[in-house]
């Protein structure tokens, strides 16, 4: 259990945020650059000192301005993986991995070198010098090194920002596995929604040094302020579903949730895999009933939950097991007589759905 309330003024920028993160899971911290994410990470790790507030972790107080408590970084046991791996250049891979391990009391250790090397695929690199490693290898060593210090909380500050696509996917898998395997709370800082969708169950949305929203990833990412922070005007719906099967003739995969299903362009995933699909609200069409003679593949029945003005348009939330957002003109809403409780059919173009596998365990997904 992490309980944070921090204030810090840096020039004109004021960081003032409070949130809690429960349990051994990946919590994502999302915000655009300059929103205060990295400042928060430094404050948590003890590298900078907050002006006021408190940091509590599993009942222990790490910082409390009122009580005058300020545990130095080296006593906090908070692991930190930086964007640039910051390995010790004069140590071998093994030396880097063991640097924190040696400084951790035996009774606090929860993992061994062999275990970490196996988990992160570092066995063959152990005797290399770090200057000769690739970017992905460096980040794996940085993660392993942080783990071997047996942290109570692992902070990851955009750990994949410097890597290419294939390395990213691979490391995301590792990261998701870590939280589950070690029952370790991870705070994953990112400004990439696709990374968060893969690894995080919950997320905190911050902007301009403040917390705008926190909660299950699906809920936070469906908010208008998330769309704004992500640099988009359009709302999205995050649908967590299971791959039911593939239709090779039609080159589609069927995603099922809550007794409903949609077809999406074929995914290269085994049946039974959990995916999160992003459905942009401007690609959802509403009709008063099933429609024939249309190219749109997916017709999902539901009932209108709410209508909210969103700029010149209306955001219509439809209950299809989860709230599905559709963007309509006020005129269209009037013409269809949309009001809460009204039965409608949501038409969703397959090609507009962007689905990716979720790396975290299905039971870590808190909503959907």
């Amino acid at each position: 259990m992490l309980d944070i309330s921090l204030q810090k003024r840096q020039g004109d920028f004021i960081l003032d945020l409070s949130f809690r993160a429960a349990g051994p899971e990946v919590t994502a911290l999302f915000g655009r650059s300059g929103s205060g994410k990295s400042s928060l990470v430094r404050l948590l790790a003890g590298l900078d000192r907050p002006d006021a507030g408190h940091i509590r972790l599993n009942g222990a107080t790490l910082f409390d301005s009122g009580a005058g408590t300020d545990l130095p970084a080296h006593n906090r046991r908070i692991g930190l993986v930086f964007q640039d791996s910051r390995l010790l250049p004069h140590y071998s891979v093994r030396g880097n991995l063991l640097y924190g391990f040696k400084r951790t009391p035996e009774s606090d250790r929860f993992v061994t070198l062999d275990e970490v090397a196996g988990l992160l695929g570092l066995e063959k690199l152990l005797d290399r010098r770090v200057g000769a490693l690739s970017g992905g290898e460096k980040q794996r060593v940085a993660i392993g090194r942080a783990l071997l210090a047996s942290p109570r909380l692992l902070l990851m500050d955009e750990p994949l920002a410097a890597l290419d696509g294939a390395r990213k996917a691979e490391l995301l898998d590792y990261i998701a596995r870590l939280a589950a395997h070690f029952r370790l709370p991870i705070l994953y800082v990112s400004h990439a929604p696709e990374e968060i969708l893969r690894v995080a169950g919950r997320m905190v949305l911050i902007d301009d040094g403040r917390v705008l929203a926190e909660g299950p990833v699906e809920q936070v990412m469906s908010r208008a302020d998330f769309a704004a922070a992500a640099g988009s005007r359009t709302l999205v719906t995050i649908l967590t579903a299971v791959v039911e099967g593939h239709d090779s003739a039609r080159q589609t995969s069927r995603l099922a949730w809550d007794g409903r299903h949609i077809d999406v362009p074929r995914l290269d995933l085994a049946a039974g895999s959990t995916v999160r699909a992003r459905i942009p609200a401007d690609h959802v069409i509403l009709s008063l009933g099933p429609v024939e003679g249309l190219s749109v593949r997916n017709q999902v029945p539901g009932r209108v939950l709410s209508l909210t003005p969103a700029g010149p348009l209306m955001d219509v939330a439809v209950d299809v097991g989860v709230p599905l957002h559709a963007e309509l003109t006020p005129d269209a809403c009037r013409e269809l007589g949309l009001e809460p409780g009204k039965a409608v059919t949501a038409l969703i173009k397959s090609a507009a759905i962007d689905a990716a596998e979720v790396s975290l365990r299905p039971d870590d997904i808190s909503a959907g």
């Binding site: 790790a45 130095p72 046991r77 140590y91």
Partner: protein
Amino acid sequence: MFTLSPLETEALRLSLLVSVTAVAGSLPFGIAIAWLLARARFPGKTLLDGIVHLPLVLPPVAVGYLLLVTMGRHGLIGGWLHDVFGITFAFNWKGAALASAVISFPLLVRAVRLSIEQVDRGVEAAAATLGAGPWAVFFTVTLPLALPGIAAGIILAFARSLSEFGATITFVASIPGETRTLPVALFAVTQSAGGDAEALRLCILSVALALLTLLIADRLANRLERRMKGQPHA
């Protein structure tokens, strides 16, 4: 074959003894002050920086005179050291080492400070999050990564000590077997009639020693540089 006369052997031995002692004695202080100047923020930092650099810009004779006044047997600090600890720097090789140490100190501090400033503070921060306290960070990260600069500082200070003359002769005079290092001996023979041949021999000896020092320095710097960058040995 170039064989050394007893006078030359004596001067060479003294030069090496004085220079090694000067550098070894001032190194811990040099590193501490370089770290303070590179990393710490405190009032009077500019003043400290100025004082450290003073021997670089003052005439060595002035430095020697100041040492005589403060560290001599009847000097403010020298007198106290003599009364309390029985240590004296007056007119002995230890005084010559002290003069060399003071004169070469700015060179040592500058080189070390520059190399400490080059050490990535991000790596130091990473070490702290891995459980290393400030001293552990200093000894396992800052100091090893600053080694190339520290080595450069040592060599520079050593070379400057070897050539030290003005402050030495002012502070501890020219006493054969005690304070007559190579440069002091060279000066002594140039002052005596018919010492030209001897002066030339001492001069050649000085040049050879200086070249050897620079050569070793170059090789050492290369090796350290490679090691600190995490690259395999060539």
